[in-house]
Symmetry: C2
Subunit: 598 residues, 2 copies
């Protein structure tokens, strides 16, 4: 047995020391010890990202077997960057925040501040004439069935300080005691297949105290839900995937939220999660195996009362865990929560198409009278995945592009100003739409013009927007499949329920595309149907805003439950017309160009 | 910042690596890192037990400040021996076990097996005609309000295996699912000031699957409850004391219980704790400060429904935590639980004196009509503490002694056979009673005879029973104060409620004295009143047997609650006669020898 000591370039991280046998692989030792070293290729030596330093020499952790002697490994500050990428919060973009706030102000019928009450009581201090114990003294003064342990812990000293006691309570339970008692807090969590976003809010006022986001650490087990399910089916796989989301993603984000707001987990009494059906299963460590097997049955759609501390989260022992309900295997809580904030259900006439475009695309079509829903596998292109220069809609991302028809020179804007580092969803749509508009690429996405910005590397043509930021034919091909999946899903679903795109009165787009989305361009590339542009609206991260609404209000949570029950789920994969629609849509804008004329 | 790596002579313990600043004391670093190094003197350099090895050199951790460089510290296998002394289970003595079993068989009116039911259901597997999700499918088939997360986790695979499902459930909640479902288990925990004992039992059958005991790791903060309370009042003190009992004592014992029985904490649905009032407070991390301050008011006597997982224990998320209720500041759950198994409350006539003699002595006097109770500070002499050669009633302990009046040669028995290592409570009583009977010591406990076994070291006389096992005048003095505290408490309490020792019809003795207790000798030294010896009975660890009864039966737990409510608490420390009685009893057998004639 040798001792392996991991030290960290990031001095805030304490060294980690473990025993190992000679011949074990360093990457496996690091994983077992929960030392974060990125390995997107899952340790097969191809991505070359798991670099660490031993005696000043850089090695790949996946290619290093440990010797019989003790070893000190220096983990560079960039390792685990994906995991610890919690500096870039969604909602850090003021435009996204404005959309979020507008969405919530539209939901004024579900106000905050009704979950808890603060009761003031004055108790006589214990004395020789009445030495009744503290808890019994309290119970004779207040009408409550339970006193939480945390409240009992506060009682002896609070009782013996001067003045009245403030009790934070629900109808039946006293949760905390103080003079004054700290405000109750809650967490809303949006678990995306690619990105996880969280916010911490004051449950009395709705004020957001801090927000944070990170990549979903499960990404190392595959980019989409099907790969994750397959991995979860392996021996120990469910534990690994649950560990990746709980220990590696959510817990660090929670620490960030608490540190930024200067609060402790003891104050957190409510935790709302919205995610797709697979994410919900993996979060709760429930086998998702049967989601992908006929008859495509989730283990659950709606859960009863659960306790967030059951998952080992650092929250109050009485913290309720509420999961936005799933509708089916591929339409989950992110969509039901998002449907709440879409306000689609408030429309008494006209038909709304609500589309949440992430790694999966989900659609809801309807109004206050009826709702149909379906899902398609969009892939991560719109969130920056699968693209050579893709990134999330955060600082450094190109989010708007125009290209001069003569010179092919681009003009673009970069989120946060500064140098361009990559392209977010809206930038990708713009760039490809513009390349197509100026005739640089054809309907198949192949370059048909030449110019100084169009180059070839290893037989692959690409267009350079900025030094190091380019779009390749492979990227364009990935994008075309994404937009085709979305468009064909819209068409197939509408067909299935007897509607056409002409019946759509409003289109609401949610997801990580970014607020700069240019709907003209999205229609130009054939992602969305050719209807009047003023019918389109971007609604931001509706899964998060829905979770936030559910966090503040039981009525909002009940409304989401009601919406989930009233949705009719349509399975596209068993629809014989879907594959035909998809193939027809794999062209710019579409093989049936007539659909995009006029 | 330097890295300190603790390595362990015990190869089963993984190295622990932490950062430190130069100048920090090694003992403090070890404590912060939860590295077990004994320091009974609390690190003031007097006990010299905190030995560790650095570069092959033995040093005291309390006297070593760390340098600016990295350091590797070897912790010897004997360090933390007190903490990890979990080999010696109470109930390992077959006589103790027989008493335990007899006690429980007397409680047949509270049978096991009524806490949970196993329901068998057959569900149709999901199919294309009815792809209802698993949880909803279950909920339509069974009548339950809640399905525990653990049960939902079992559901997908159990549902798709052949045959019927077995549900482990209470009236409202389905706790687990299987085919078959594992038996529900529970833990009974007796927290003594000095010794902690635990057992793991099958809740359906009552079968004891494993048992374990250890010293209470809080002992480093003081031998009695008053010292512990004073330590808990210091900044961070409550956390330290709670950590010592939960992390250092109870969690290792639970791991031992689980390993020995080959089960997981997930199967544990009920956890009953009995301890004195201070131990109960520290276990729950509730400030015990006001226990020792006028008007001597505990924070609680009886708790409502609590959850064992709130304390971070490795048990099922729905595991109920039940604490035997306290009666007052110095009569706690150990006594109310013990009173249940004493069966005192079943006597319709005659008066029973029930005495639990540990570090504290507690008395209950009464029958089915009335019950008085009081406490005295006996000190740890009867559990082997405060005695130069004292030990618990386990292998190697001398538990019975006779001394030849002519030669002063001893004859003794050793628990487990083999060589004598020390004296347990019954052995101490015998040895001192015999030394007094043969005239080797006088009524003040001073040696008045000489012989080869009576020697003097540093001015202190002692009697050697066996090589390395001796009784000193200091030991005898400690013992006399212990027996005086007990006897004077009995007298004062009886006086206070208008009874005399002549009114006692039965005496039940519980605690760590051991089953070999010789009541003739206990009366001879003036510990117990001089009444007919056939009225005395040893009832073993009644706190543990009471907790075990409460573990198996809600009715038993309710009965203990009822007993606690019906007890009248008498505060001896405010009784003006108590100190006088105590001083008079500090003599062998008593200054009023007439009390022990006839």
């Amino acid at each position: 047995m040798a001792n392996i000591t991991f030290t960290f370039e990031d001095s805030r991280i304490s060294p980690v020391c473990v025993s190992s046998h000679a011949g074990e692989r360093l990457l496996d030792i690091a994983r077992a010890a929960e030392v974060a070293i990125d390995a997107p290729c899952n340790g097969n030596g191809t991505c070359r990202k798991c670099k660490v330093s031993i005696d000043g020499k850089i090695v790949l952790a996946c290619e290093t077997v440990v010797p019989a002697d003790d070893l000190t490994v220096l983990v560079p500050a960039t390792a685990g960057a994906f995991k610890t990428d919690i500096r870039t919060a969604d909602l850090s973009d003021p435009r996204e925040l404005a959309i979020f706030e507008k969405t919530l102000s539209d939901l004024a019928e579900f106000p905050a501040g009704k979950l808890f009450t603060t009761e003031l009581v004055t108790l006589e201090q214990p004395n020789l004439d009445d030495p009744t114990n503290d808890l019994e003294r309290l119970l004779t003064a207040v009408n409550a069935e339970h006193i939480a342990l945390s409240a009992i812990r506060q009682l002896p000293k609070a009782l013996r300080s001067d003045g009245e006691l403030a009790l934070l309570r629900t109808k039946n339970t006293v949760l905390n005691i103080g003079s004054p008692v700290p405000e109750p807090l809650g967490i809303a969590l949006d678990i995306g297949t690619t990105t996880v976003v969280m916010l911490l809010a004051n449950l009395n006022t709705g004020e957001i105290l801090s927000k944070a986001s990170a990549g979903n650490a499960q990404i190392r087990y595959g980019a989409d839900v099907i790969h994750r399910i397959v991995e979860a089916e392996r021996p120990g796989g469910l534990d690994k995937l649950n560990n990746a989301i709980i220990e590696e993603t959510i817990k660090p984000l929670m620490r960030k939220l608490y540190a930024e707001a200067g609060v402790s987990g003891e104050q957190v009494y409510r935790f709302v999660v919205s995610g797709n059906t697979t994410m919900n299963h993996l979060f709760l460590k429930i086998a998702p195996d049967f989601i992908r097997l006929e008859p495509y049955t989730p283990a659950f759609n709606r859960l009863g009362a659960l306790n967030a501390s059951d998952l080992g989260l650092d929250v109050h022992a009485h913290c309720k865990l509420i999961a936005a309900p799933n509708v089916g295997s591929y339409v989950g809580g992110d969509i039901t929560a998002g449907t709440l904030t879409s306000l689609l259900w408030k429309r008494s006439s006209g038909n709304v198409l609500f589309a949440d475009l992430g790694t999966n695309g989900e659609l809801v079509f309807g109004n206050g009278e009826f709702m149909f829903t379906c899902a398609c596998s969009a892939g991560p292109a719109l969130e920056g995945g699968d693209m050579s220069c893709g990134m999330r809609a955060t600082d450094g991302a190109i989010d708007e592009v125009t290209i001069d028809a003569e010179t092919l020179e681009p003009a673009f804007s970069v989120i946060g100003g500064g140098e361009a580092k990559g392209l977010c969803g809206s930038g990708i749509i713009d760039a490809i739409a513009e390349l197509f508009r100026v005739g640089a690429i054809d309907g198949k996405g192949k370059f048909v013009k030449s110019g100084s910005r169009i180059t070839e590397t290893d037989g692959i043509m690409s267009y350079t927007l900025s030094p190091g930021v380019e779009i390749t034919e492979v990227d364009i091909d990935n994008f075309i499949r994404t937009k085709a999946a979305i468009f064909s899903a819209i068409r197939t679903m509408l067909n299935a329920v007897g509607f056409t795109v002409g019946d759509i009165d409003e289109v609401l787009i949610a997801g990580g595309i970014g607020s700069a989305i240019n709907f003209d361009n999205a229609v130009r590339v054939g992602m969305f149907p050719a209807i009047a542009l003023d019918k389109y609206r971007y609604v931001g991260n509706s899964s998060l805003s829905g979770a936030y609404a559910m966090l503040l209000s039981n009525e909002a949570a009940r409304k989401v439950d009601e919406l989930a029950r009233s949705m009719t789920y349509i399975e596209l994969s068993t629809d014989p017309g879907y594959m035909e629609e998809f193939v027809a849509a794999c062209f710019l804008p579409h093989t049936d160009a007539g659909l995009f004329c006029g």
